[in-house]
Amino acid sequence: MYALIAGGGKVGANVLRTLQRLGHEATLVEQRRDRYERLEDEFGHEIHHGDATEIYVLERAGIRRPPDLVVALTGDDEDNLVICQIAREKYGVDKVVARVNDPRNQEHFDLIGIAPTVCATSSIMALVQHEVPEHELVQLLELRRENLEIVEVQIDANSPSAGRRVDTLSLPEGARLISVLRGGGESEIAIGSTELQPGDQVLAILRPGKEDELRRILLRA
């Protein structure tokens, strides 16, 4: 596989290192002179100096071939978006991956149809929420291609679902419970006869947009 990476910070450099170790061909474009020189010492000719949102820089780096994959990992979301858009629309690159630095910009990527995206801040926020003792509903994983997401819900003593069997809950269409993690640390797959108890951490899979309905059934009437 041939991949073109835009952005040679810690993320970009490690992606390049990993791809090379797996035996793939990859080139990287870095704008900052100091970073470029450091990367060139390590990787040699695979590194190009310039602004990866400039068409002639992309062409010099090999976008005309075109690459099997373009990975936009700069620190600027607008740059990542433009790089992916040019790669896909102008050069017919099939697969693009973009880094989203500010989660508030996610909607712009969605609007223009750039996917998949990776947002470290959002992932960290989900993990932080997961650790907060009294969280309600936390999104753990977004399965964009499947248009599904996996969320975690914590049941408490006041929840309408506490003390009830899963098959007696009227879960919203497009939502299923996956598993239950009990206070003692043991977990079980959620089946019809599973009884929810206060303190349970429940994993559910659902269509995006069904969160409120699920919250209503599980957490408050």
Binding site: T53, E54, V82, Q85
Partner: protein, 114 residues
């Protein structure tokens, strides 16, 4: 709208329009500035890629068909024109005008022969 409040001073005392401080990539600020009722949107920040994103947000999300975007880089301006964005490229305008100005000078096309 502009992300720097000082910009308002440049508009002068006679400015009677409104002014919103904030970044154009922020949907909330765009709404506050009234994008939903706008007949036209002009995007002219000093960042080409910022303008490209905001322009597409105005066009695709808020359905403003008269969205005009400034892009300094002629190559990107040309590409995004093919993508249906109304782009203005001041660099290209300057090149054309400078070329025209030189052409209109009365310079002999051949070196003068004595």
């Amino acid at each position: 709208m502009d992300d720097k409040e000082e910009t308002l001073a440049r508009l002068g005392d006679a400015w009677r329009g409104s002014f919103v401080v904030g970044h154009g990539m922020d949907i909330g600020v765009l709404r506050e500035a009234g994008i939903e009722g706008a007949d036209a949107v002009v995007v002219a920040t000093n960042g080409d890629n910022t303008n490209i994103v905001i322009g597409q947000v105005a066009q695709k999300r808020f359905d403003i068909s008269c969205t005009v975007v400034r892009i300094l880089d002629p190559a990107r301006a040309a590409f995004y024109r093919t993508q249906g964005l109304r782009t203005v490229c001041p660099t290209k305008t300057a090149i054309d005008e400078l070329t025209e100005a030189v052409r209109s000078c009365e310079v002999p096309s051949q070196p003068a022969v004595r």
